[in-house]
């Protein structure tokens, strides 16, 4: 039985978790940095504990302070939110060792999935197609050259222990291999303490499609359909939609069932996402995000399942309250991320409201946008029976936005939303560059 949860995060996701706690009649404690004292999540939570100063390594990554805050405020569980410590197997282990419930997968599951080579192996065993590539860490440069010849260029070198671009190198020709291998190896060793690399065939301009899965760790696993997150700027997602438009029905079904098979194989507990690259009629496993994701609301809108609430219920030891056949995906949901382009104080704020519109934000007039953290200001999520209607409703919603005091990406987001590429649904990872760069070239 969970009576009180410590929320180890900030911004809109901290508020999202506080709201889920209130909906479940559970008390919440927000652990915050000194500059986040006046944020909405802190105000609306039952309690708050300052865990350090503004820099993330002094507060939101300070595991000891977070765990002590949970213990001393008599919390039963810690929700790590998104980012920060949410995918740290070490942190999850520390939470478990402190006798607290970690709202997320078991620490071993996180550790396993954190190793990209191991994750690929498990995925392949569960029948999930993986990008052609070596299953094992590369022995040396010669091994790398031979493997690349077998796969065909371009290939991508990845740090086995890491993620997020570090230790990653795309190699287009054999001549580039030696220096790329050396550099990637060095980076991997530096950032992850493990210089092991593996190699995959590099997919150019794929679609980025991910399946939302949730498991109770007791045999129950259900997926809530997929999301298309192809529209990105420097690997940062800008728009997310569910279902993925014009995805081949057979591919959609296979993605869903193989993701469920993977989570069953993992005895996965909690919410997680299986990420795929889609290249024409093929799809390849990329990785598992062993946590909630920023874009979870689009899946909530089409499935009517509250993911954060379900995460908490599962963490209490409950079984999933539904089976796959009870999940009925309905209509079409689209999320637009509103990001700050700089720090500052919001002097006037108008966010859209009304039918079909959901806003997840921690902003209000007077909010201070700190330079220390993620630039996400608000998520605007709309629903409609059809994709084209959802696009129109999003346009209406974005037209209502009025933020004074800081610069935002609103104008760029509107350009993307109205672009032919986006409207046509032909979304791949190079859409942003094509739409915005073209626009800029032509003035």
């Amino acid at each position: 039985m969970i009576r009180k949860i410590l929320v180890a995060n900030r911004g809109e996701i901290a508020l999202r978790i506080v709201r889920a706690c209130k909906d479940l009649g559970i008390k919440s404690v927000v652990a915050h940095s000194s500059v986040d004292r006046d944020t909405l999540a802190v105000e609306l939570a039952d309690e708050a504990v300052c865990i350090g100063s503004a820099p993330t390594d002094q507060s939101y990554l300070k595991a000891e302070n977070i765990i002590m805050a949970a213990c001393l405020t008599h919390c039963d569980a810690i929700h790590p939110g998104i980012g920060f410590l949410s995918e740290s197997a070490n942190f999850a282990k520390m939470v478990e060792d402190a006798g607290l419930i970690f709202i997320g997968p078991k620490s071993q599951t996180i550790a396993l999935l954190g190793n990209k080579v191991a994750a690929r192996k498990v995925a392949q065993e569960a029948g999930v197609p993986i990008t052609p590539g070596g299953q094992e860490a590369l022995a040396d440069l010669d091994d790398a050259r031979l493997t690349a010849q077998r796969l065909g260029y371009p290939i991508i070198l990845k740090a086995s222990a890491g993620g997020g671009g570090r230790g990653m190198r795309i190699v287009h020709r054999e001549e580039e291999m030696a220096s790329a291998f050396a550099l990637a190896r060095k980076e991997a060793g530096l950032f992850f303490g493990d210089s092991a690399l593996h190699m995959e065939r590099y997919i150019q301009n794929p679609r980025h499609v991910e399946v939302q899965v949730i498991g109770d760790g007791q045999g129950g696993v259900v997926h809530l359909g997929e999301r298309d997150c192809s529209v990105q700027k420097n690997h940062q997602k800008l728009f997310e939609e569910s279902p993925a438009f014009a995805l081949d029905p057979a591919m959609r079904a296979a993605m869903g069932s193989s993701s469920v098979a993977l989570f069953k194989a993992l005895h996965y507990r909690g919410a997680g996402t299986v990420e795929f690259l889609v290249d024409g009629s093929s799809y390849y496993f990329m990785e598992v995000n062993a946590r909630l994701q920023v874009e979870h609301p689009v899946s909530e809108m089409v499935s009517c399942v509250d993911l954060v609430r379900t995460q908490i219920e599962i963490a209490q030891g409950r079984r999933l309250p539904f089976i796959q056949e009870q999940i009925r995906l309905n209509g079409y949901a689209l999320e637009c991320r509103l990001n700050a382009l700089g720090a500052g104080t919001i002097t006037f704020l108008r966010l859209p409201s009304g039918p079909h519109v959901r806003i997840d934000t921690y902003l209000e007039a007077g909010s201070v946008i700190s330079p220390y953290y993620d630039s996400l200001l608000a998520k605007i999520i709309v629903w409609a029976p059809e994709r084209r209607d959802a696009l129109t409703i999003m346009e209406r919603a974005l037209d209502e936005v009025l933020i004074e005091g800081i610069a935002t990406n609103l104008d760029e987001q509107r350009l993307i939303l109205k672009s032919k590429r986006f409207v046509s649904g032909k979304v791949t990872t190079n859409l942003y560059e094509e739409v915005i760069a073209t626009r800029k070239r032509h003035g």
């Binding site: 504990v49 300052c50 100063s53 001393l72 402190a98």
Partner: protein
């Protein structure tokens, strides 16, 4: 219920002008007055520190400083339940002297003085939780 007399509009202007307000509004049964101003107020407006954080290392007096908690944990004045306290009000401590213990992650962390000082006040309650930035001691720097 009595309502106060409402001054003339001119008087309101004068009042607002000589205030440090940036916004003023008045609503009566059939009258509404709203005044706003951007940035700082008029002439002699006192510079209002719009945000006074309760944790801030306030300096209420010359030489007087607040020592705050660097971590989250349980605050103890004594090294052990039946031991005498490290310090008490009036004590003089040197740089490096232990002031208190903060228990966190089953470790007893001893907080040492960063400079020589005299203890003016003990601000945290022993055996209770302190958060990052919680005021622990008011001291006079020596």
């Amino acid at each position: 219920m009595r309502t106060p007399d409402i001054p003339d509009i001119e008087t309101l202007f004068t009042l607002f002008e000589h205030s440090s307000l940036t916004e003023f509004s008045l609503t009566a049964s059939d009258l509404t007055v709203v005044m706003k101003r951007q940035g700082q107020g008029a002439g002699e407006a006192p510079s209002l520190p719009t945000e006074t954080k309760p944790i801030a290392k306030a300096q209420p007096e010359a030489n007087v400083e607040i020592i705050t908690s660097p971590i989250v944990g349980t605050f103890y004045l004594t090294p052990a339940p039946d031991a005498p306290p490290y310090i008490s009000v009036g004590s003089t401590v040197k740089r490096g002297d232990v002031l208190c213990t903060i228990e966190a992650m089953k470790l007893m962390n001893q907080l040492e003085a960063e400079y020589s000082c005299q203890i003016v006040k003990i601000l945290a309650k022993p055996e209770t939780m302190v958060e990052f930035g919680s005021p622990l001691f008011e001291v006079k720097r020596l």
